[in-house]
Amino acid sequence: MTHTPPFRLPAGGRRIDRAWQVPFRFDGRHLRGLTGDTIASALLANGQLLMGRSFKYHRPRGPIASGAEEPNALLGLGQGGRFEPNQRATTTPLTHGMITRSQNCWPSLEADIGAVNNWLSPVFPAGFYYKTFIHPRPFWKHLFEPIIRRSAGLGRAPTDPDPDRYEQAYAFADTVVVGGGIAGLTAARDAAAAGGTVLVLEQDGHWGGRTPTDHDGGQAAIDAALADLRGRDTVTLRRNTMATGLYDHGYLIARESLADHDPNQGIPRQRLWRIRAGRVIAATGALERPLSFASNDVPGVMLASAVRDFIADYAVAPGRRIVVVTNNDDAYRTALTAHAAGLEVPAIVDARPTADGALPQAARAAGITVLTGTAIAKVKGAKHVEGVVLCDHQSDGTPRQTIDCDVVAMSGGWSPVVHLYSHCGGKLTWDEGQSMFRPDPDRPPLGADGQGNVTVAGAANGDLHCAGDLEQPAGATMPVWVMPARAPYKLRAKMWLDFQNDVKVTDVELAAQEGYASVEHTKRYTTLGMATDQGKLSNINGLAVLSNALNQPIQRPARPRSARPIRR
């Protein structure tokens, strides 16, 4: 199945303004996006799904996510002193005349010579660096090192001095709410009503998080909450500001984007905030997890939430025929959104034996085929998804049928964003029912008085259905760490866990087999979760694979803690 235009849908797109076209360049080609686009949505609207190549094997990669967790779509932006490598296409707003470049490829993105690493992948197993450092010394010095040095490094370093200005600022608030979604805005309203000053930080340029995209009436609820907060003179709202680290006694660091990549405004480009918070409410939401099935890294395999965002927020069709694969009800929203936008949804592949929640029922009522107890055995295609081969989930991957499609929207459930809570000593607990790590309310980070100074609200607290009256009853998520359940080595060796560092299920299993029982050692041995995305997508899946390989419950090898700062 080929990738066919038009990619910009005729209607919808809550973030774009069709009246204003924005010219920009990608690898020298002149393209056009719309005001409100991110670089990723503008590239997708031009049919450009391939946005980069992976670090180790130089495999072709497109965007997986639509936000800060994106591991693949990293571009070099600007030129001269303003050149900046490794910028996330999914979070960087498109600006007039922007010059963007793909990375990790030579001579070009389409025909990359380093991809030869991919065929040599059996020669580069997990722990390759450790093994060759030790054993055949001459090989290291004369063979591996020259090759690796030439192809190493993510992006290129800029050569000229940075001409931009940056500034610092201080702020003090009784309560700082991190996250401007429905949970954060509700918590901010309650805090303001209880008295004291409130500062609300949102990393995105838009308020509301997932609520406006996911719920009918979501935008109205967000607007009402914002109107209430704007009417209070004790509340400060600050967008484009990402809280990156929480330090001792409520010392919070945040980075505000003022004129990123719009250098002609004559104002400082970014502002570093040092904030003294009496207490912090982390309403940082949750991130969707990928599913581990064979060839889950082919461009066109994306998170279900990202497919939904591109359609609903930017009116961009990542493809015309979208297969949804899931272990939970939430991904059905993507099928419904795509269907409503006039795109084909040939099937929803659900690993669970039954799916009878409100959303699956709505999908069936819309005429979408729901295949329960089913899994993806493998994805067909190399530079682009061409179809999926399906099998029973409780099987070894024996093919049952093939469906042509150009996008696979996957959802392996959601993981709370717990970084701020664990930055300053807060501990996490494994929630068996929802298969997720969430903050342990009995072991919070402590302030100077010995009392907890961070609380967590909404999806960040494991409450994935936090939109109150807007929610519908949902079925439970079934943990799926490997798809299909009894996948043989041949399939597991093609299941990517860490997309940026090219870590596969079999790499983590090899680490376990070689005696790496601690997650910290396994991470270093395999480089799982050590890329610039800090394992936002890969860590939980990797932990689950490791603990399965060790025959231990997930909380035994896994004591996830987050390092500061969070990177965007």
Partner: protein, 115 residues
């Protein structure tokens, strides 16, 4: 970035206003001390994980030295007090025991000079 209250001027001072002075309540060794005593006085420190007593100077404030009792593991501050005392005063000890019932002082109050 700790916040400590200066016991002299009452300011809730941030760490950037303060200058650290290391472990508090070190007993000075006189001219008759042995080499081992001097070595211990100059170099040996408790480096405790848990309750710890420290010297701080309110460098960008009143300029005075004061002492702080805090937990190095959880960052809880039990209190700050003036520097002219050979041992933590009773109210600080009480505050620590309230938060850490199994903690016991490693000095004998009888040695202390009466407040």
């Amino acid at each position: 970035m700790l916040i400590l209250t200066c016991p002299y001027c009452g300011v809730n001072a941030e760490e950037t206003e303060l200058h650290p002075g290391g472990e508090a309540h070190l007993a000075r060794i006189g001219p008759n001390g042995t080499d081992e005593d001097f070595e211990s006085y100059l170099f040996a420190r408790k480096n405790a994980k848990g309750v710890h007593f420290e010297r701080w100077r309110h460098a960008y404030g009143c300029g005075k030295w004061f002492l702080a009792a805090r937990c190095t593991a959880t960052l809880q501050v039990f209190g700050t007090y003036r520097a002219q005392t050979p041992h933590p005063p009773a109210d600080i000890v009480d505050a620590i025991r309230k938060a850490r019932p199994d903690w016991t002082p490693d000095w004998t109050p009888a040695e202390g000079i009466a407040e």
